[in-house]
Amino acid sequence: MQKKWKLSTTVASMTILAVLASGCGGSNNTPNKGSNQASEDKTVTYKFLRNSGIAEYPADGGEARKVLTEAAANAGIKGVDFIAQQAPGEDYQTKLNLLASADDLPDFFDIDSMTLSRFVEQGLVQPIDKYLENAPHLMKLIPQYYWDQVTFDGKIYALPNGMRPEAFNSPNVTSVLVRQDWLDALNLKAPTTLDELHDVLRAFVSDDPDQNGKNDTLGLSGTKLSRYNSIFGAYGIIPSFWMERDGQIQKGFTLPETKQVLTLLQQWYKEGLIDPDFPVMETKQLNEKIINSKVGLFENDAFLVDPKANPTSEALQKATPASKLTMIAPPKGPDGKSGNPETNAVASAPLRALSVKAQNPDKLFRYLDWLVDDSEGGGFNLGLYGVEGTDYTFDKEKNLITQSTSYADLYKKGYNNPIRMAFIIDRRWTTEAVREGIETAQKNIISNALWKTVPAELDYPDLETKLWSEYFVKIVTGVWSIDKFDEFVQKYNQQGGKQIAEQANEEWKKMKK
């Protein structure tokens, strides 16, 4: 009996090993390389990969894939076809790494700046300068300081998002929002200086602006990530930005101005003008407070002024029909300075990079340039809004696009997203109120002297996210006295801040040349 066991198990294990071995050996990997010498009009199917979540996008590309390629052919860019694939979520970069290690990168794909710099080092992506020579529209719509951020050793390696020239297309849409109806109820004017802001906040907190007889209103609120940049702006700095001082750049939160702002915020917090929950709040909780009319003043996007453009303000209007949010300019400080932080559209949106193995990149870039060309025959409106007359109408005089097809249906037809492989911010569909809000927000902008992330910042990532956060929150809430700020600057410099500043200055000087 024992023998029988032995025999059958040995046979079984041998078989398994044999199966495994044969399974590993077989590999039917036939690389599908596009031949460059083929004639210019031969159809090339470009493979795009986007880090997006458009569940409605059809597997075959829908109507748009045909319409777009035909329209491009009419404009002289013949033989372009594409497959747009998507992978949602933060794990997208992991997928990209795996594709790269398996030598399977798509032709043109979304990438974040950190992964891009590594891909450049490893030679997985190629410079696009020479293709951009034939792309005048892209060059026009994407500002130079965006290109600077994707330039490595003098060569451009990725395509950032651009924006249309109108002021309301500015990436800077964040400023101070105030409850206009509360101001009206208390007979107050919109604050323009820090002192006026202080008085407004005090009135919001103590004078019952919602007139419900309860002491249940807050002044200034924010989330755990809020640094009240517009208050810092009144002193001419933004804590997380590089500011120029005596021919050098320094991080905003190491400057003496930061101490002044912290003193002010600590004072306001003591007076009860700042929401005491802010250090633990998420965006969702802040939105709930806004909707429930607990908050009178906060920093947010201009879209909130129009209840039809933002769910939070829509819900606020439903809950309190008389409510009205107005966007105001950031308050002026003692020296008359004011400003909101410049939004870095390059860091917040994905970049697009070209694989070294991409097929016929020259044609691809001519197609991408056509896609952002808004003249007659160009693909700008077609790609974003579908077919004129069926999906949208365009009022030239008001420069207003009115969409008749919902985004969900546009996606189903294959328009707008994820196919916008070159993307130019276009808000010609917004209402007058939102446009005014954005124009207010983008007027006073404090810019960052250096956007590029230096290697030392990656080596000491906790300095800004942990150390600065801790000192900011503890000083503002009064747990620590303001004198602790000097200790912060010292600690910051000791724990790597000095190295960061050295590398940043080096980069900055290179850029200035």
């Binding site: 198990t9 409605e56 979520g89 795996l98 909780q285 939105n287």
Partner: protein, 286 residues
Amino acid sequence: MKKPIASKIFDAGNGIFLIFLSFITLYPLWHEISLSLSSKAEALQGGFFFFPRGFTFQAYANVLSSDYIWVAYGNTIFVTVVGTLLSLLVTSSMAYPLAKRTLPWKNVWMTLIVFTMIFSGGMIPVYLVVKELSLLNTLWALILPNLVSAFNIIIVINFIRGIPEEIEESAMMDGANPIRIYFSIIIPLCKPVLATLALWIAVGLWNNFFAALIYLNDKALTTLPLLIRQIIAGQQLAEETGQLADSSTESVIAATILLSIIPILAVYPYLQKYFVKGVMLGSVKS
């Protein structure tokens, strides 16, 4: 018999405590249900949800209107059912011989198995193996690489050791070979442990987001977790860019969560009875 007062108070306190405990475990699910059925404005107001506010099916309509939700359901059910059955077959057939004390080189086999518990190849090598096996962009990539888990094998081995050897010997005397014994005796007797494993494996396969993300590219192969992530990402994108949707992100997320857990919740009670049996089998019989 009269209970002393102190005992009564204790019972009452105990009852209240347990009701409170069951409430805090049940509330999150109830919150999601209410949220998914609430109108947009109400859902965004937040706070406690004891009942849906502004009752609407809009969020479900949004999710179910996606053309791909049924494709995703189909793919996920395929992966879960086929993956679970195959995994149980392979795990139990591996465990059966290893449970035999007479198996030659038993320690070698066991060491090899335990080795995989401690060391793994890492993500990139596994990905390359999947690629070389031409499994990329097929649903089998979600099933085959993790078909056998060493931990599960050890559990089944221990269970099979509890089955009296005399049963097998009597079967062998009646002329059954090991294969026959395995299918007609061992597997039926292993039902409790296999049901338990089935539940673990099925839940794991049902919720497998990461493997689907990295191995699958074609839209036609999309699975439920992948599609849900896309729907949520799409909602967030719409909010950021100022495009207004008909239902709030919160309710859509709640609706997708419910749609994805309902099938697994429905299977749970049927498998749970084996859990109880499994515990009894191990403890009472000598």
